[in-house]
């Protein structure tokens, strides 16, 4: 075939990652559910009763007159508590995902790119991975008291090594690419090579990983609350609500059912988005980036 002077006419720029992702149906529907839950978390408290409001006359009432989801043993409105609990879950999930990705990305880039740092960082990560999140949370809380920050820290620490491993494996393959070697040969400074040529390749797998981290963080937070080792019990998080409803479970299942269902739907939505992203980003990137 004869070489022609101009390249084949094709779409000028590549579609952005988000455009590619939103074409996937599970990303769209999962994302829609998440957006609704986020809106409820952000603005729901303006429309519901005070979740701390005690009503001795209306204790352990089933869903109906005393509230959409019934009331708990202190007569507090379960619907209002579940709506307010969404804020805690989403905050923890997002915070853990963002913090562990940022730290993990940095450590992973360093470990993957600089051979002499690799062994050091990865052995520390192996160590961190062996710490169970729940045990760490209990230890941290007994040391410094139960706050949102301690809970997030406790969940972030064991999550970081997973991100580091992922980033490192991507970096290890990308750093051998001829275009990276060409950049070295062109005298590009190391940090610029990492920023310009290596980092962009980690974005797609990291977005996918972030969703899984987010989902599991929300579950872990609920478990901690349920065990009484999480957010202070007076704050309505889904884990706390279920924990308090535990003793009355056989009599008044609604106290546990509704926060449990909310948690299940949220984590499911996050995971559906994650699966959709994995499907749409991985093969698509392999094809369009060629």
């Amino acid at each position: 075939m004869a070489e022609t002077a101009s390249p084949a006419p094709q779409a000028a720029a590549q579609p952005s990652i988000w455009r590619i992702a939103l074409r996937n149906r599970s990303v769209f529907w999962g994302g829609l559910i998440l957006v609704i839950i986020a809106l409820i978390a952000a603005f729901g408290s303006f429309f519901t009763a005070d979740p701390m409001d005690i009503n001795p006359m209306g204790r352990l009432k089933p869903p109906g007159d005393f509230g959409l989801f019934g009331t708990d043993q202190l007569g507090r409105d379960v619907f209002s508590r579940v709506v307010n609990g969404a804020r805690i879950s989403l905050t923890v999930g997002t915070a853990v995902a963002v913090i562990s990705i940022v730290i993990g990305l940095f450590l992973g880039l360093v470990a993957g790119y600089f051979r002499y740092m690799d062994a050091v960082i990865m052995r520390v990560m192996d160590g961190l991975m062996s710490i169970p999140a729940i045990l760490l949370a209990i230890a941290l809380i007994s040391l410094s008291g139960a706050t949102l920050l301690t809970v997030v820290t406790a969940i972030v620490i064991p999550e970081i090594p997973r991100v580091v491993r992922l980033v490192r494996s991507v970096v290890l393959t990308v750093r051998e690419e001829p275009y990276v070697e060409a950049a070295i040969a062109a005298g590009t400074r190391t940090w610029l090579i990492m920023l310009r040529h290596v980092l962009p390749n980690t974005i797609a797998p990291l977005i996918v990983q972030a969703t899984y981290v987010c989902g599991s963080a929300m579950l872990t937070e609920a478990i901690l609350g349920f065990l009484g080792a999480g957010i202070p019990p007076e704050i309505p998080s889904w884990g706390n609500i279920m924990s308090e409803g535990r003793t009355f479970f056989q009599l008044t299942p609604w106290i546990i059912f509704f926060p449990g269902a909310a948690l299940a739907v949220t984590v499911l939505a996050v995971n559906i988005v994650g699966d959709g992203l994995r499907d749409s980003l991985d093969p698509r990137i392999a094809r369009t980036m060629r």
């Binding site: 004869a2 070489e3 390249p7 084949a8 590549q14 950049a183 070295i184 040969a185 062109a186 962009p200």
Partner: protein
């Protein structure tokens, strides 16, 4: 006598979004018993689609045969049921692939893999099966079949693996063998052995062979008849002597003319100043363990050379010869274990990265794989200007330079804001050359820079490399496994084997009067030796 394989008017359609409506269009040719038919063409010509459709292995979601028939001993494969085709595969027709490593299961002994064919298609007892497998392994001249029966694919060499694949495909004695680029992944000396094996087996069994290749040298060595394909259509077919000796279609003529001749042109000795020299260069991989264990491999052992401005030094060798290691040491993409690398009069072999960086601009490289040499997320302009900007050239000036270079390498300057995936392989290689030139280097290293390209594109890129060498007075280090290419472009040649330079001299001398046994073997093994030399001599 009716042919074994008769393809009549075969048309296979592509999905709607493809760049052309048909993968192959109205193909008609046949393969007789005792005959090797070569289907030859460049990438995208439809030659592999043809072979895969015959085997019923084509991607059924994308490719649909819409017209014509494929008759195997008179039976139309396109109408046959899946069960029937499954039985035909192996018993009547068999296929060998390009990459023997991936064609074999890495976790099963090779003997069992050959035996599996018999297990599925025959009722032989286990002991009879084993005897037959051993016989098949002897037929393809594998040493010590009893022992090799229990070997795993990774324990064998590339050539041995391909022999296993051939044994596997022939154990049921099919009447048709389809070979899809079976020697492309192999070294040239191994390639020659496999080709003669295929020819020998074909003669002994009288089967028909459909041989897919892009290499006219291979065609000259093995074919009885040739089918030339371009863009999914047959442009010419006929007996090998006729097609190669007196091609009629302009495309065939162009392809044959593009095959580089093994006879080097007359060249004057270059006497420019020395731009690059390596002295006692060593690179060892691995290291002795703490207690004396471990294994050390000499990837490059005591390599010495100089390259003058305006001169091309070729480093020729097979895989594992250390030729790329030398290039990467010289580029300081890896650190040499010992030795000197002088660029101008600076020894860069042991400089620290920050001291080395100013010297990086003097020596640039073009890699083999055009698809991985450019960052897919950055525009061509960004890729070309990256280096100059690193060295303090202003963005505007770098862009000006990039535009000039784009026209020098034969591309439109407006294409600078496009992305690499919008270019063909040959065009990308031109971009890589432009990127290297943008640094205004003294030395250009071409590491198998034309090996991944189709032969017609290869010729153009070779011309371009030669042009820019003269225009910018570059010293060029040209690394290749292909003796034909080396003959055309190199002033001097260095032959490497297992990390050691075995021969070194002016190209014409090395080709006409090789001293070392290995060089002689390499020259003899070059495909098409004879056919294409007579023409050019």
């Amino acid at each position: 006598m009716s042919p074994i394989l008769d393809i009549r008017g075969l048309t296979v359609s592509l999905p709607k979004q493809a760049d052309r409506p048909y993968a192959i269009k109205d193909i008609t040719f046949s393969v007789n018993a005792g005959e090797i038919v070569c289907v030859v063409g460049e990438s995208g010509s439809g030659k592999s689609v043809t072979s895969f459709t015959v085997m019923g292995l084509h991607d059924k979601r994308a490719l649909t045969p819409v017209a014509g028939e494929i008759l195997l001993q008179g039976e139309n494969i396109l109408n046959a049921s899946d069960a029937k085709i499954r039985r035909m595969r192996g018993e009547k027709m068999a296929m060998i692939f390009q990459e023997p490593m991936t064609a074999l299961n890495p976790v099963a002994p090779v003997g069992d893999q050959i035996g599996e064919m018999l297990e599925i298609h025959t009722n032989l007892s286990a002991s009879k099966r084993k005897a037959k497998v051993l016989q098949a392994m002897r037929d393809v001249h594998l040493p010590d079949p009893e022992k090799m029966y229990h070997s795993y694919p990774h324990q064998l060499s590339g050539g041995q693996r391909q022999r296993i694949v051939i044994a596997m495909s022939l154990v049921l004695e099919p009447v048709l063998l389809i070979a899809d680029e079976p020697t492309t992944a192999l070294d040239v000396t191994t390639q020659a052995q496999i080709l003669s094996l295929i020819k020998e087996l074909q003669e002994r069994r009288g089967m028909g062979v459909l041989f897919i290749t892009h290499d006219f040298g291979v065609v000259a060595d093995i074919a009885d008849r040739v089918v030339v394909m371009q863009n999914g259509e047959i442009v010419e077919q006929g007996p090998v002597d006729q097609v190669l000796g007196a091609p009629e279609h302009p495309y065939t003529k162009m392809l044959i003319a593009a095959v580089p001749s093994m006879t080097p042109p007359e060249r004057e000795e270059v006497t420019g100043e020395t731009a690059l020299s390596a002295t006692r260069l060593n690179k060892q991989y691995g290291h002795k363990g703490l207690f004396g264990g471990g294994r050390v491999v000499d990837a490059a052992n005591d390599v010495n050379f100089i390259v003058r401005r305006g001169e091309t030094l070729g480093i020729v060798g097979e895989s594992g010869s250390g030729k790329s290691t030398v290039a990467r040491c010289v580029m300081r993409l890896i650190d040499p274990t010992s030795g000197e690398v002088l660029i101008g009069d600076t020894d860069i072999a042991t400089l620290r990265e920050d001291k080395l960086r100013p010297h990086r601009r003097d020596i640039q490289i073009v890699f083999q794989d055009p698809y991985r040499s450019l960052n897919p997320r950055r525009t061509v302009g960004q890729s070309i200007t990256e280096g100059p900007v690193n060295f303090g050239v202003s963005q505007a000036e770098a862009l000006d330079r990039a535009k000039r270079l784009m026209s020098i390498v034969g591309l439109a300057p407006e294409a600078l804001d496009r992305f690499p995936h919008q270019f063909s392989g040959g065009q990308r290689q031109r971009i890589c050359i432009a990127r290297a030139l943008a640094m205004e280097p003294m030395v250009l290293i071409a590491d198998e820079a034309v090996s991944a390209l189709d032969v017609s594109v290869q010729a153009q890129v070779l011309d371009l490399l030669e042009d820019v060498r003269d225009e910018f007075d570059l010293a060029m280090l040209f690394i290749t496994h292909d003796l034909r290419v080396a003959a055309q472009i190199c002033d001097r040649i260095m032959v490497m084997r297992k990390g050691v330079v075995v021969e070194n001299g002016p190209t014409a001398e090395v080709f006409s009067n090789p001293q070392h046994e290995y060089t002689k073997a390499l020259l003899a093994a070059a495909p098409g030796h004879g056919t294409f030399d007579k023409e050019s001599a």
